[in-house]
Symmetry: D2
Subunit: 135 residues, 4 copies
């Protein structure tokens, strides 16, 4: 499963553009980290909400994929993000989790932390729905 997710992730050119990496894959949980690149910022120099969203949504999607059989993958049907604090620091870390895995829908959540040295701060939470699709 981890290989399958890493292969899929490697084909997501957006993840490379953002410098994102898969840090951990386990059953129902995937962690993705990304630096706050010079090209990933909003007008005040902190991470753009789109970076936070990108890794949160992607971590949640791959968490859902850990629950799928080999002949299915998932697509985001919808996802909501609440931004709690400006995302600044050395890097962002998104932890995606499966809340409920069904045959037709997988409900997921994600938390995104900003990490600076040894400290971390919760900067966003996401809640969404992934849809299994046949390959």
């Amino acid at each position: 499963m981890e290989n399958r997710i890493r292969d899929s992730f490697a084909r997501q050119s957006m993840m490379q553009t953002l410098g994102a990496e898969i840090t951990q894959v386990s059953d129902g949980e995937v962690i993705i980290t990304a630096p706050i690149l010079p090209g990933s910022r909003q007008q005040h120099g902190v991470a753009h909400a789109a970076l936070t969203f990108a890794i949160g949504d992607t971590a949640a999607g791959y968490a859902a994929l850990t629950k799928m059989p080999d002949d299915q993958e998932v697509m985001t049907a919808e996802i909501k993000i609440n931004l709690l604090s400006p995302a600044m620091g050395d890097q962002l870390r998104a932890t995606g989790k499966v809340i409920k895995s069904g045959r037709r829908l997988v409900v997921v959540s994600a938390e995104v932390h900003a990490i600076t040295g040894n400290t971390e701060k919760l900067v966003a939470i996401l809640q969404g729905t992934m849809v299994p699709i046949a390959l």
Copy 2:
């Protein structure tokens, strides 16, 4: 107001990374377009949800900014995206609108269309909340 928005947009390095441009600014409505760059894709080669989100959220945010006095700007408090169809085509166009502008919160929406030649298709809708903040 249009100058103010274009200045702010120019400082958003993420928008440059994604190749996004402001196409139109009017009272309560902002349109942003972006090509689907080779570096903005998901694993099947269509636009990554983060691109769709990025321009939808940003268009909605600047639509809110058109309602703000000069000493305030806005931040996204939360936004939800429903993805309707795979985002493929020549480019994406996000139209952000103000639904309700209050002193403390601005409720916004956005539609994102994929454009191919003369045809366009609605690929995502967003609904969210922007918060005015003092500069």
Copy 3:
């Protein structure tokens, strides 16, 4: 279709508790109205958010049902509500609409207006996902 919707609605005891009525059914759009009963209020005497939600969600769901074949109905998978203003007046009116009807998911929206005499005010907007299920 209208009969089918009215039959289903009549079996929703919550709609009767809230005094809600179906006002209009057309292809992809359903309107539901409800008084703000003495038993439907929050602590300041205006309509409880649950009333606004109840008719918004139900109108959106039946709008989706207008797109379904006879052997399917729909369930709410998820829905988000932004509350714009306190819901006070003679009655509330929810207009549910289909944004995108797919085989697996139906994306919907709803607007809820508070009506007082001849005036009306938009008090809430909803955006959600309905799932077709076999009867």
Copy 4:
């Protein structure tokens, strides 16, 4: 604080209509339970989504209120609900929690479980934003 919340709750006539009760109040967390009354159902006899929403939203709102000074209360700005399973059982229990309490916004979540005898099942999750307002 618990008295303040119970007083406010007692003035919410919708909570009485639905038979809801506050079960527990602690710092940043409030639990509300409700039976699935004959008048709180959808067309198949299980709890209407509006009941699940009502107690989830209200529990989240009062959780936010535990963080407010005496001269402020809160209103729901927006909230999203994902419905995971049909809500059937003896009663529903909503646990509302504060995720981030700010001066201008309080981000909250809630889980709703259906309880039957000694078993419980997660039937919905909510994520939303409360706004402090001066009394």
